[in-house]
Each structure stands twice: as C-alpha cells, then as structure tokens.
C-alpha cells in the first residue's frame, strides 16, 4: 500500500474529468467541475501533475484569425489511469470493511 503514489482529491477529480472527456484545457475543466476546481489553482495543479507524469499535454493549433498563445490540452497518462483504478479499488475495499451493508 505504501508504494501506491498519492493522489489528492483535486488530482483525482482532474483525472476523472479527463478520463470522461479524453482531452480538455484548463478553463473547460473548471467549468465541468461545477465549482470544485478554481481557475486560480487549477493550472498550478495541472503543472504539478505533468511533473509527476500523470498528465500529457499538447498545444492546440490556433484557429484562423485567433491571436495570442495557443491553448494547452491535457490528457491522462496510463500511469494516472492505473493509479486512479488502484485508488478506486482501495476505496471500495475500505468501504466493504467499514460499512459491509453499503457494499
């Protein structure tokens, strides 16, 4: 159990969102999270998750006539999906142990 990488609630939420939508940019994640992600902190978290190897990203090509920086699209790595699955399994195991009737 101690070898299982940590996953904060925010990181888990981001991976779950990305697992459902394939690729998203930061602001869209904030919108989809219904207030659980904040736009002031989400980019810092995304940066850290990239450092940990949980996320991959690519720059979206700029649309015709658009100016400024290209948006960055994120998608989860295989590592993130395996960690999420492991945490879900651990959570289910814990719930079965504490509240057998709920399981």
């Amino acid at each position: 159990m101690s070898d299982l990488p940590s996953l904060s609630a925010t990181e888990r939420l981001i991976i779950e969102l990305l697992a459902n939508h394939e690729e998203l940019f930061g602001l869209r994640m904030v919108e989809l999270s219904q207030g659980r992600l904040k736009r002031g902190t989400v980019y810092v978290t995304l940066g850290r998750m990239q450092e940990k190897g949980y996320l991959e990203s690519r720059q979206e090509p700029l649309p015709e006539g658009a100016i400024g920086l290209p948006r960055r699209l994120y998608r989860p790595t295989g590592l993130a999906m395996r960690i999420l699955a492991a945490w879900k399994a651990a959570e289910a195991h814990y719930i079965r142990g504490v509240h057998p009737q709920e399981a």
Partner: protein, 326 residues
C-alpha cells in the same frame, strides 16, 4: 490584450522556464481565448477574473522563487561585500562612540569590552547601506537568468530584514545597555535603561517599559510608539535599498547613471539623513502624532524607486536596454 502580455512578461521575469511553460502559459492562453470569445461588457469581467486567477497562481507558485538555487559564487560575493562594508563603516562609526568616554583610555581590557558592545550599534547603522553594493554583486558581472537574479535579490531582501529586525530589536538595545553598564565609573550605580535600551518584546509587553527612563517630550505611550515605529522603519530599510538599487540598475546605462555603488552608497546615506531629519522637523513643527515623521525616509526611497522603475520603462530608453531586461 495588453494585460495578458504584461502578465506573461511578469511571470517570465520571476519564474523559471518550466513553471512559466506549465502553469502561466496555459492560464494566459485560456484567459486570452475567453476574452476574444467574449463581447462588450463581459470582456471586462473576463479580464478581472483572469487577473485574479493570475494573482492567485503567482501567490501559490511563489515558494518556487525562494527555492530557486542561487549560484554559490553570487552568495559568496554578496556576503563578502556586506561583511567588508559593515566592518569598515561600523569600525569608523565606533571610533567617536569610544572616544566619548575618557576613562577607557587607561584600561585596555575595558576598552576591548566596550568596543565589542559598541559594534552592534554601529553595525545596525551600517548594515542597511551595504545593500547597494550587495545588489551590484547580484546584478552585475553575473551571467545568470533573470529569474535567478530576482530570486537572489528577493532572498537578500528577506534575510536582510530578518537580520536587521534581530539587530535593532534585540542585539543592539541589549548591547547598548551593557555598554552603559561597563562604561559607568566604579562606585557609581548602573544607569537605568531608557526605551532605546529595551528589546522589542520589552517595549511591547514587558513591565520593564513602565520603569524605563523616557527622555523625550512625548508621553510614555507616545515615546514607546515612536521607538517601535523607528525600529520597524529601520528593519525594512535594507529591503527598500535592495529595491532601489535593483530598479536603478534596471535602467539602461548612461554616462552618469546608474551611479557606481561607491558613489550611490554615500548618496543614499545623505538622502536618508536628510529625509530622517526632515521627518523629525515636520513631526515637531506640525505637532504630528509621535513617530509620524519616521515614515518620511521610506516614503522618499519608495518614490525614488518608483521613479527609477518608470524611467526604465520609457520607450526611448528601452531601445538601449541591457540584455537581461529584454
């Protein structure tokens, strides 16, 4: 969108390349696109929301500035310059202090003990002015990225304020009282401390402050307030000088400006003394609240730094900007 360009420039100056690429570029890209997609009054709302998100991201990422490693060669050069400057100036300032007492000339061990106690007081007077030379050691003759230079300057400012707070808050007052005790001729009573000889803690809460001698013409509460303001101002002074020199070096080099550190340091000393005494006179002439005049030096140096910053942004000057300012 000018505000996003400024935000990106700000982030690039303060943070390393990886943090800018991973955190700030995506934030600003989303902000720009949202602004382009919005129309009319909503654009103002988008700008404000984006700005608050940017400020929040800067605040959260700011510990990385302190964690930015500074090359040991720079740290060593800064420490050496501060040590040499303080030793020379504090030594020079100690001479009149020591010569003021006649009996010590006949007693070498006593003279040595008094020198030791006079030094902290002299050090607190010299230390803030060492910042001009220290900043030069960071920003000149060092081929390091701008964010490392800024991290080094910020660390210098924070450490200098802590050192100064310890010196003026605790070490210098206690050393001063010890000095008075040692220099009292044999058979005389040790003089009771004045407010200047009490530590910050004693000034704030200790009953000792009620027994201390109050030499000025204010009430005891007024004198305590003045003393606390004086020490607070002295504590932030090094950070103000770091900022001043930093902004001065940000300006493109001209024939006479920025002045070399050996000329800038005495200029800063003279301006400080003038501002200090102007504040003192203003406070008394206009019967202001005790300690109000002590705010004059930080205001003067703040305005000076802002003026330097403004001049550095002049377009006609920017053409000849130093490479690290690009």
């Amino acid at each position: 969108m000018a505000i996003t360009n400024r935000a990106l420039a700000f982030a690039s100056r303060w943070f390393d390349e990886a943090t800018v690429r991973r955190t700030f570029e995506p934030l600003i890209a989303d902000w720009q696109r949202e602004w382009q997609d919005a129309s009319g009054a909503r654009r103002l709302w988008v700008s404000l929301r984006g700005l608050s998100a940017f400020i929040c991201a800067v605040a959260i990422s700011s510990p990385t500035i302190i964690a930015t490693p500074v090359p040991p060669s720079i740290s060593w050069r800064v420490a050496k310059r501060i040590a040499v400057f303080c030793l020379v100036v504090a030594g020079a300032l100690s001479i009149p202090i020591l010569r003021a007492r006649d009996p010590i000339e006949q007693d070498a061990p006593l003279w040595a003990a008094m020198l030791l106690m006079a030094m902290p007081v002299a050090f607190t007077m010299a230390f803030p002015f060492a910042m001009v030379m220290a900043v030069d050691a960071i920003r000149r003759n060092a081929a390091v990225p701008p964010h490392v230079e800024r991290a080094a300057a910020m660390k210098l400012g924070v450490i200098a304020v802590c050192v100064m707070l310890t010196a003026v808050g605790f070490v210098a007052p206690l050393a001063s009282q010890e000095w008075r005790a040692v220099s009292t001729p044999a058979g005389w009573n040790t003089p009771q401390p004045r407010l200047q000889q009490l530590s910050i803690v004693a000034l704030l809460i200790h009953p000792e402050r009620d027994a201390a001698i109050v030499p000025g013409h204010y009430t005891r509460a007024g004198e305590i307030r003045r003393e606390l303001i004086n020490r607070s101002v002295l504590s932030i002074l090094p950070a103000m000088f770091v900022w001043l020199r930093w902004t001065a070096l940000g300006r493109p080099r001209r024939r006479f400006w920025p002045l070399p550190a050996v000329l800038m340091t005495p200029l800063v000393m003279v301006v400080f003394l003038m501002a200090f005494y102007s504040g003192f006179i203003l406070e008394h002439e206009w019967a202001l609240q005790p300690g109000t005049g002590l705010f004059v030096p930080p205001i003067v140096f703040g305005l000076w730094s802002l003026a330097e910053q403004r001049l550095a942004r002049q377009p006609w000057r920017a053409r000849s900007a130093a490479p690290h300012e690009v």
